[in-house]
Amino acid sequence: MAWVNAIIQGLLTGGLYALFACGLSLMFGVMKVINLAHGDLAVVAGYIGVGVIAITHMPVLWSIPVVVVLMAIIGYVLQRSLIQGALSRGELTTLIVTFGLSIVIENGLQQFFTANSRGLGVGDSFITASFSIGSQITIAWLNVIIFALAVVVLLGLQQYLSHSKYGRLIRAVADDREAAQLSGANYRHVFGIAAAIAFGTVAIAGMFQGMITTISPTLGTETILLFAFAAVVIGGLGSLWGTLLGGVVLGVAQAIGAQINPSWEQLAGYAVFLAVLVIRPQGLTSRGAQA
């Protein structure tokens, strides 16, 4: 029964990992940018949430849309300025700029907010609410909500990119920037919109991270970026559905590892990542060229 519990909890945690990975996957798919500051941006979203709640005293759930909009604006501006500037100078520059951004954000947060960790919505009743299956399995409603939200966001985004008019435009720009531009698309603006969407999903993930556990300045590089990347690789490039699967596989692997030995949690997740990297480098879902 303990094993079933571990797998269920891991599966639900996987939803959060998939939410983290979503933006990374999208930005790589559309702009071919590996954003090394991805994890730190999730942490930034969490701290913005702390600020928004402190100023407006709104309930934590209501603050999420506010943070999402703020992060989307930051994403658009950052893409149009810094990231676009780096992109037009080559891939090495893009890596250096996002890596620099990551280190600057992490240390900046430490200077302004100290290294202490913070929780979001501490004391709210729905954060601790849970239900039980049998006598040994207790599931937090918050985890269920996050998982459901991850499914909605990732699959919804996949549908949006596949079928909507603007989604087609994003895919067209991702496939062939010059050709899309010749057809009248402003690829820089499209990149900005894609970044805004990616940052929006990162904001959701960062806020829920703060609710489930806590956020701290170093969290972005220590876990979020690496977990997100592992989820993307496990799931397979270019498919948001695969990213969801990758997040779930990572979450379950970590939960099983922790069940065997509490200190093996992260190692077990990375072991699966390395195994996929060696045995099936195209990821578990090789099909699908969207996003």
Binding site: L36, A86, L267, P281
Partner: protein
Amino acid sequence: MTETAKTGIRSEEDFLKVTRSRRNTVWSGLGAVVLIVVLYRFPYFVQPGTTGIMIQGLIVLTLASMWNLLAGYAGLVSVGQQAFFGLGAYFVLIPAMHGVTPWAGLFVAAIGAAVCAVPLWWLVARLRLGYFAIATWVLAEVVMLVIEQISSIGGGTGMPLPGLIGYNPAVLTADTYWAALTVAVLAIGGVYLLLRSKVGLVLTAIRDDERAAKSSGVRVGLARMGVFIAAAAGCGAAGGVLAIEQLQVVPGTSGGVFSVQWTAEMAFAVIIGGIGTIEGPILGTIVYMVLQQTLQSYNAWYLIVLGLVAIAIAIFARRGLWGTVVDRFNIRLFPVGYYLWSPGERRGRRRAATHVVR
């Protein structure tokens, strides 16, 4: 130092002449020797505190030279060099626990890190650029997690370094400084010799155009593996020096030997100084030292400023400080490229160089 290869193009000899440099490099070579001798005499003139600062600088200099080799020449943007740095520290610690003097442990650190680099290379060899970057980061995390599992070498908390107890502190600082300087000189000298060798030509070809190099029959993968292993050895030795300097080895991502800040420092130093040149990391390390010493009372602000400067330089002056100097004055302290003399041109005549193969 000046190699003169006469090309037999057309019947006239000396029609086209190819040399390593435009100027006589005996002088810059002599300058380097003098500089190294002065640096070796350093501990006799200054306070141990200053020597300690120099040790930190030499560690970063070694790391930056290695990262430059990786990213600047082999196109391998590694964000996981802290793995080899940390492993180097442990390869000094482990023999020291069995009675081997830490000074000899530095050799173990270099070789051990290089050996560990082989299986790790196999895992990431296929990946390029951004993927390679994060994958190496994940590998560094995995290496740290594995080391933290081994309680006999301190587990997650680390261990003090045995074998140097009873040393006079001033002598120990000086000895550590000499070890750090030797490691740095060997690292830079190694990079210089490597780039002047056949491998250097291969690496320059990869740097300039990977696809063209591949289609000309250059074994890109093999050269990359060699660079990855060599850089691991250099970073390992630097990690060994850190273990001796701190007299302890602490794992962990914040403040420990496996912190990504080590890679941040080496990468930023390279970008600021000028990527793809040997002189760049040296200049970048000096900038790093100045920033770090000026802002040392403001915690991690030096790293924030360093990061911002690196971002600005990466976007606005891609060839870094040294690249700007080279463009303006055409000086090279470490000539690894070739200079093609146009017919009739003589050494010493000041003319804008137009045929430089960097």
